[in-house]
């Protein structure tokens, strides 16, 4: 099978005759730039893995020599017995490497394993946490439900509870990046983003605003009019003499609160004038205009 050839010198940006110090310096510099905990770009993690692979080969004189000589096929020539690893070393020494009390300084590791801290293994470690955006309509957020997400070429089924809010994080344990060397996977955090709604606008954490169209005579005389709420249509009493912008509160008709209960819905009076008047309507408006002197404000 043909193997894809990766030019490790090019990956690290060093010349083919670079000495070990130059290779280490190049790796450290690029590792800081592309470390997935420091760089959230999508391609950073792949680039970081590639750097680790390049450094693993070019920092080891034997592997580097085989790579220089054999190119893409260098791995086929790897010897059967791999280098002694951490566990094997301590087994030989009579230590139990699982002993939680055993702690070693970086210096000791450096002396024993020659630069372990630069892309070396170092035992199991939990994978990276991931964050993804879950865009929901207000209705979906209120009802809860399921979604299928594709992340890292995997399909994930997500259940979100009823009453999630904009900006809320939902943790999906173990759905993050795979662990390293047998470590547990990270978690996936879904950040809820509510799509703009054609009628309701969020106000604070639990309250909603909605426009309440009323006719001029309803605003002047008072009326009971229908208003849209997230759970359907309700009736609201518009007091006489309500001007545009007046805020009428419907308690408990907003978004559910995490501790129980719900926020309020604020219906904002918006006086709507008919665009076309019948003859009779025009006549009545003209009478109204003549009998009602214009209010002037300073």
């Amino acid at each position: 099978m043909a193997l894809a050839y990766t030019d490790y010198y090019e990956v690290l940006g060093v010349s083919r005759d670079a000495d070990p110090d130059a290779i280490r310096r190049a790796y450290r510099k690029l590792a800081r730039r592309y470390h997935p905990d420091l760089n959230s770009d999508n391609e950073a993690e792949d680039r970081f893995k590639e750097l680790g692979e390049a450094y693993e080969v070019l920092s080891d004189p034997d592997k580097r020599e085989r790579y220089d000589r054999l190119g893409a096929n260098w791995r086929q020539q790897e010897q059967e017995a791999p280098d002694a690893n951490f566990e094997e070393f301590f087994d030989r020494q009579g230590f139990d490497s699982d002993d939680a009390r055993v702690e070693f300084s970086d210096d000791l590791f450096e002396r024993l394993f020659g630069g372990r801290a630069d892309g070396g293994r170092g035992g199991p470690l939990r994978g990276l946490d991931r964050e993804a955006l879950l865009e929901l309509s207000l209705e979906d957020a209120l009802e809860g439900g399921r979604r299928k997400l594709t992340l890292d070429h995997r399909e994930i089924d997500v259940n979100f509870p009823a009453g999630v809010r904009d900006g809320q994080l939902i943790r999906l344990a173990g759905q993050g990046a795979p662990g390293r060397d047998g470590g547990p996977p990270g978690d996936l955090y879904l950040r809820i983003a509510l799509k703009p709604h054609p009628h309701f606008r969020p106000r604070g954490l639990d309250d909603l605003d909605v426009d309440l169209p009323v006719a001029p005579w309803e605003a002047a005389l008072g009326a009971t009019v229908p208003v849209q709420t997230p759970s359907g249509t309700a009736q609201i009493r518009v007091p006489p003499g309500s001007s545009s912008g007046r805020r009428l509160r419907l308690r408990g008709r907003g978004l559910p609160r995490s501790g129980g209960g719900s926020g309020d819905l604020h219906a904002i009076v918006k006086i709507t004038v008919p665009t076309q008047l019948s003859d009779r309507e025009r006549e009545l408006y003209e009478q109204l205009a003549q009998s009602s002197p214009r209010e002037t404000t300073a």
Partner: protein, 86 residues
Amino acid sequence: MNDEQPVELTVVAQRAGVRIAVVRRYLEFGLFEPHPEPAEAPRYDPLTAARIARAERLRRDLGLNYAGAVLVCELLDRLRELETPQ
């Protein structure tokens, strides 16, 4: 927002995939604090495991010591706070 209950140190270590001694080392360096809620044994925020794993990745991958890894984590947290719209 996280509704999970605080957990014991052994659970933090298990979830982070590291030995308990490593968790204690980060505790000494102030990467995290015990949960303020009184309990028989100290308990920790469940998000501590992810915090330790991040510090440990940085320490191993970039050749940092514990103090350096903790410092970078704190700076990353501050950066995130600044980048998050109020």
